[in-house]
């Protein structure tokens, strides 16, 4: 048995998936948001829903720079779960429904275990978690279009981006059949982005092309000072966009939308 265990561990290669999002390339088209919803069986929002009660595992923020109107520039920031290496949501969950998967680095949200206390939502600084406020309802016939690789969620539980786990499972199956150890896949957002602004990679693999991207000077992350160690990287060569990273930057940026 011990020998078997050793052997299994050897073949269970570990990953640390992360993503790099090029904000200079992003046009804010929203294809990623749509692809994400379709991939993850997000039920169509009922009429009474607003942007604060709907499920958008991925959303694109429109941020304007502080300059006055004629010179005002805009950037679109796609935001989803940052897959933190030290997730603030994980240790607050009272019943172990959140787990940082040591094999993939993905922060798993176990909707089957979740009882909807929403403590993790309060704890997440990126507001990347969503609660199912309503019973999911698919118009007649639309349930046929559901992605069989992703279970639909019931009302009253918290969900979030799990880096298209269904696609990961499929890649795993493929690799197992091929006898390969190399699990590569594209999440729906990355695949659907017409500007190819979203790229996924294995942060653990020194030969992965993502390493070069991370080392670029224009790469930054949001709210690193909180110590959550996010695995989502953003890129921009524009100074004011980079300064969005922290709330109180030394230059004193103020991006409140008072107007």
């Amino acid at each position: 048995m011990a020998a078997g265990a050793k052997e299994m561990n050897k073949t269970n290669r570990k990953y640390r998936y992360g993503m790099v999002i090029d904000l200079d390339a992003c046009t804010g088209c929203g294809a990623c948001v749509v692809a994400c919803a379709v991939e993850n069986n997000v039920a169509p929002a009922p009429a009474k829903v607003n942007d604060r009660t709907s499920i958008t595992l991925m959303r694109v923020f429109q941020v304007k720079d502080p300059a006055p109107m004629p010179a005002r520039k805009t950037v679109f920031v796609p935001m989803m779960c940052m897959q933190c290496d030290d997730p603030p949501c994980e240790h607050v969950c009272p019943q172990q429904a959140v787990e940082l998967d040591p094999r993939t680095g993905i922060v798993d949200q176990m909707v089957q275990r979740c009882f909807g206390c929403r403590y993790c939502m309060a704890a997440c600084p990126y507001h990347a978690r969503y609660f199912n406020w309503f019973d999911p309802e698919w118009p007649a016939g639309m349930e046929q279009t559901l992605n069989p690789a992703v279970a639909p969620r019931m009302r009253g539980v918290v969900e979030k981006c799990d880096l298209c786990h269904g696609r990961f499972h499929e890649a795993q199956d493929r690799a197992a059949l091929e006898g390969s150890d190399n699990i590569t896949y594209q999440p729906a957002c990355a695949e659907s982005c017409p500007a190819q602004a979203i790229r996924i990679g294995d942060l653990q693999n020194p030969e992965d092309p993502i390493q070069d991207q991370i080392r670029k000077p224009e790469t930054f992350q949001f709210l690193v000072k909180l110590g959550t160690k996010p695995k989502m990287f953003y890129q921009s060569r524009r100074g004011w966009v980079k300064r969005l990273a922290e709330r109180a930057s030394p230059n004193g940026n103020s991006n409140r939308r008072d107007a």
Binding site: M8, E99, R103, A151, Q172, G179
Partner: protein, 192 residues
């Protein structure tokens, strides 16, 4: 003293009644649409499991074979049994799928990869499905009236104390084997 005796006797009687009656009340039986003999196929026709239950190109498990799979041999009856006649007349000729009731169907939130377990970990089919390939008839499908899950998920033994190694397909059963093999997966390894 006497009242104490009656109390315990009554309690024992009710427990016994529950023990015997609960499984009957909890599980409902449903007959398979067609009686199928694994034994005839495996022994007489010398087929193995993967002859019918195989993987697709993309690595997903095909599971229960489709009707054209049967049609390959049974376009016309090869034997004389009534069952085979029924197969040909009712399903093969009109190209209608047989609505098999799957004993090992897991709840929708469970993901099980046959590719990983069969190809990578090299588990035998019998490890989880038992000697199903040697059965002569299909036993009736039993399902839990509350959850709708197949009885095989819990296993036939209500107490789960004395059960065969393949019996039971609960999460605990998966976890036991995973722990034993040192192949611990995260929650979303087996959930979706």
């Amino acid at each position: 003293m006497r009242s104490g005796f009656f109390f315990f006797a009554g309690a024992a009687l009710m427990l016994l009644g529950g023990w015997v009656g609960l499984p009957k009340a909890l599980y409902k039986q449903q007959a398979q649409p067609l009686d199928f003999t694994h034994k005839a196929h495996v022994v007489k026709a010398e087929m193995d499991c993967t002859s019918c239950h195989d993987f697709r190109q993309d690595g997903s498990f095909a599971g229960i074979p489709r009707i054209d799979n049967c049609a390959a041999c049974h376009a016309e009856p090869v034997g004389t049994t009534a069952n085979e006649k029924k197969l040909v007349e009712k399903y093969v000729t009109p190209e209608k799928e047989i609505g098999w009731l799957v004993y090992s169907r897991q709840p929708i939130n469970t993901r099980f990869s046959h590719a990983i377990h069969v190809r990578k970990a090299e588990l035998k089919c019998e490890r989880c499905h038992g000697e199903h390939g040697k059965t002569e008839t299909l036993r009736p499908f039993e399902y839990n009236v509350v959850s709708g899950y197949s009885r095989d998920i819990w296993g036939r033994s209500i107490s789960r104390l004395r059960r065969a190694s393949h019996e039971g397909m609960k999460m605990d059963d998966c976890m036991d084997c995973h722990k034993e093999k040192g192949a611990e997966a995260g929650c979303l390894g087996c959930h979706r």
